[in-house]
Point group: C2
Chain length 96, copies 2
């Protein structure tokens, strides 16, 4: 897949292809705990003095990957979700 | 933009186009707090009895939108971040 034009659908499918069996076996609650662990690491990276751009980028990637996993095991299509909420005619004005 | 093939870059740009000035003015710490508020709402939706698919989808969208905002004001390209971490030759094997 092209990395320049990576779609939500492609990444969600990629994560499912590699990890879906283990992710579904683990279930949403433990997966949510792992997601939160990555969110904590992102907070640390954001708050760090003399931020390390490479580490910050990696923590964003990890949070996004675990969010994709949560969506996969919840049978939620992220593209569909954001399109409906943020790109449709009923999208919020001014604030998210 | 096509909703069927929405890319990370398109969504990140869309969010920046609508909210970037306010988001940068608010700063990363308050924005992170708003992100966490949405993460909490996602937890509530995941844990709910008789899960509401529409609400669950919306909470995923909100978490993803605020993660995009955090990335925007941190000057992180999410596509680049996940491509390097999860699609490159040094991607993790077996576990995320």
């Amino acid at each position: 897949m092209s990395q320049q034009s990576l779609t939500f659908a492609e990444f969600q499918k990629h994560i499912a292809g590699r990890y879906d069996a283990a992710d579904r076996e683990r279930g949403w609650a433990k997966t949510f705990a792992f997601f939160i662990e990555e969110v904590g690491e992102l907070a640390t990276a954001l708050a760090g003095e003399g931020k390390d751009p490479e580490n910050l980028r990696e923590e964003f990637a990890d949070v996004l990957a675990w969010l994709c996993t949560l969506a996969n095991i919840s049978d939620v299509d992220l593209c569909d979700a954001v399109a409906k909420k943020y790109l449709g005619k009923d999208r919020p004005e001014g604030t998210k």
